[in-house]
């Protein structure tokens, strides 16, 4: 379980995360939704210790993320952030092998090679292993980064807006992959999403943030409702039940 206890983050006068306390489960898919600037990504960055908090404690299975050895935390928790430009030539295989760094410190063991091979296969990257990542399309590259996170083999997998810049084919493919990670490998997947309908279709739990606070928290059935969504986004929604899926409509 990831425990977030009264975490505060401010930039000057602006409070971006305001005393948020939250417990993230040790399995299943949890989506964090909310309008721009609600503090979703900031919260995820703090949980993954990329960003320091001004106050509060985050612990992963009892390990304080800010004060425990970084390597130990990296064996429990991984995060996939927005694609970052890198100038280096790295092949898909080399990228995925980086995922083993917390376990191997750069010297790959037989277990590492097995984990890398399995991650590559799971993400359907077998044909691309020796291609430099800068030659890949957006969808392929996203899969490569997911494979790296898989190779890291952590119980908790955090993803910050993983669907950005993906078309619906790749977005759905990625969401299915993440769902199967939770179902087949017992991982806890926590992701920031902007598309509430993906959140509705794939999550076990949805956490909605607004103005630096958690305002709604519950299963899709209780969050994807006109009232709850309006309280989060401040605009009207209609919610339809289509073949058992709750679909929010807000385009007009």
């Amino acid at each position: 379980m990831i425990t977030i206890d009264s975490v505060i983050k401010t930039y000057g006068e602006t409070t971006v995360v305001d005393a948020v306390s939250l417990e993230l489960p040790d399995s299943g898919v949890t989506s964090i939704i909310g309008p721009n600037g609600a503090g979703k990504s900031t919260l995820l960055s703090i949980v993954s210790r990329i960003l320091g908090a001004d106050a509060g404690v985050v612990s992963v299975e009892g390990l304080d993320v800010f004060h425990s050895p970084s390597r130990e935390v990296a064996k429990k928790l991984s995060i996939l952030r927005q694609d970052q430009h890198t100038t280096a030539r790295i092949t898909v295989r080399e990228l995925v092998e980086f995922g083993r760094y917390p376990h191997s410190h750069g010297r790959l063991t037989a277990e590492c090679h097995a984990a890398v091979a399995s991650a590559l296969e799971y993400c359907d990257l077998a044909d691309l292993v020796d291609r430099p990542i800068h030659q890949l399309s957006g969808g392929q590259r996203q899969r490569a980064y997911v494979a790296m996170v898989l190779a890291q083999d952590t119980r908790y997998v955090l993803l910050d807006e993983p669907l950005n810049n993906l078309d619906m084919v790749h977005a759905t493919g990625l969401m299915r992959l993440l769902r199967s990670l939770a179902d087949e490998r017992g991982k806890s997947v926590v992701l920031v999403l902007h598309d509430i309908n993906y959140a509705s279709a794939y999550s076990d739990r949805i956490v909605a943030m607004r103005d630096a606070k958690v305002v709604v928290d519950g299963p899709p059935a209780s969050v994807i409702t006109p009232d709850a969504l309006e309280s989060v986004y401040g605009m009207p929604f209609r919610v339809h039940d289509l073949d058992g899926e709750r679909v929010a409509s807000y385009y007009r």
């Binding site: 970084s70 990296a74 430009h85 790295i90 080399e94 760094y101 750069g106 044909d127 291609r131 800068h134």
Partner: protein
């Protein structure tokens, strides 16, 4: 594919030119990369560069580099000796040793610095490391006078210099990166400003200094490979050795740093500590090369980028070694040309700058056209 890569590289370059951070430019570069629709069929039609040819390529690259190193050194040792072996050889061997120490120090420090800053057109000199060295030497002569300054034990000078540079690097790092919200680029920017400030102070002292003292100072600052202090060479080699051993021990971490700060942290790298240690190594290596021959950091830019082009990998074991070998070749050949072709009409730094400048213009033109 090629064009995309170049586009994004060009973006980063423009950003650093205009004083912006790559942090700001990256999202743009990223958007261009992802939004360009590309057909999977075209992508998979590309020849798959497999592991085998890459390894073979590296063998060829290193074999050629080794040949070049040996060839350049042999050429330098034997060119125009005219039978005076017992006079020429020891002197030239000493010069070659100095060239090797300087070349490797510059190459290794530049590759590390570029990995830290995730930018391939920066060198440690942008942080004002060598400006600090020049300022210190100038201040000593200015305050104490050249007679006293010259009587200071060179080893002591050296220790003070190296210590000051490494201390300044650590202080700067702790101060700027202390709270984790400001990036490495803020630090580089502070370094740029500090470097300019050091440079201004130095030139102010140059202007008000006694001309005779200025002469002495110039001799001291622009020490050449022809007048190497052997005591300094010995200690430099030792420092270089320590720096290199430390750098190669940190190679797995350097490799992870290629992915950027955030990914390095999520992979369990103790980022702040690692960067501090690496900057200390960079500062130490820059003081080694600057103390021996004065500032010629453009060489680092040249050999680091040549090395990346030749090796086509991110692995630091390979890039550090290749860049070091290239630097030795460039310096030894440059010195040979300086001595035998130009008959000392110029400096080694100017030769390196001309060749390096041409290479960079060629690189820019090629990327602009592609």
């Amino acid at each position: 594919m090629r064009r995309r890569e170049d586009l994004s590289r060009a973006d980063a370059r423009v950003a650093s030119r205009t004083g912006g951070t790559t942090g700001a430019a990256t999202p743009g570069a990223h958007l261009t990369q992802v939004e360009i629709p590309r057909e999977p069929a075209a992508a998979s039609a590309l020849p798959h560069a497999s592991q085998e040819p890459r390894e073979r390529r590296l063998v060829v690259v290193f074999a050629s580099l080794a040949l070049l190193v040996v060839g350049a050194i042999a050429l330098y040792l034997t060119w125009g000796v005219d039978g005076h072996w017992d006079f020429a050889l020891p002197r030239r061997l000493e010069q070659v040793a100095a060239l090797i120490v300087v070349g490797v120090a510059i190459a290794v420090s530049t590759v590390i610095f570029q990995t830290l800053t995730q930018n391939r057109i920066l060198t440690p000199s942008i942080m004002g490391f060598d400006a600090l060295y020049v300022l210190l030497a100038t201040t000593l002569v200015f305050v104490l006078g050249s007679t006293v300054a010259e009587s200071i034990d060179p080893l002591l000078m050296y220790a003070v210099n190296a210590g000051l540079m490494m201390g300044a690097a650590t202080l700067l790092f702790r101060w700027v990166l202390g709270d984790g919200t400001r990036g490495l680029y803020t630090m580089v920017l502070v370094g740029v400003i500090a470097g300019t400030f050091f440079g201004s102070l130095t030139s102010f002292m140059f202007r008000v200094m006694d001309p005779n003292e200025f002469d002495t100072l110039m001799d001291q600052l622009f020490a050449s490979f022809n007048a190497i202090d052997t005591t300094l060479l010995g200690i430099s080699a030792v420092l270089l050795g320590v720096g290199i051993v430390a750098a190669y021990r940190l190679v797995p971490r350097l490799d992870v740093l290629v992915l950027g700060r955030e990914r390095a942290i999520t992979l369990g790298l103790d980022y702040d500590r690692t960067v501090t240690v690496l900057l200390l190594i960079v500062a130490g290596l820059v003081s080694v090369s600057t103390a021996l021959v004065g500032p010629i950091t453009f060489l680092g830019l040249l050999v680091a980028n040549l090395a990346y082009q030749l090796t086509r990998t991110h692995r630091h074991v390979i890039n550090l070694t290749a860049a070091g070998m290239l630097a030795v070749v460039a310096l030894v050949l440059g010195q040979a040309v300086l001595v035998h072709v130009l008959h000392f009409a110029g400096t080694l730094a100017s030769i390196i700058n001309v060749v390096g400048g041409i290479y960079f213009i060629a690189l820019l033109l090629k990327e602009a056209r592609a």
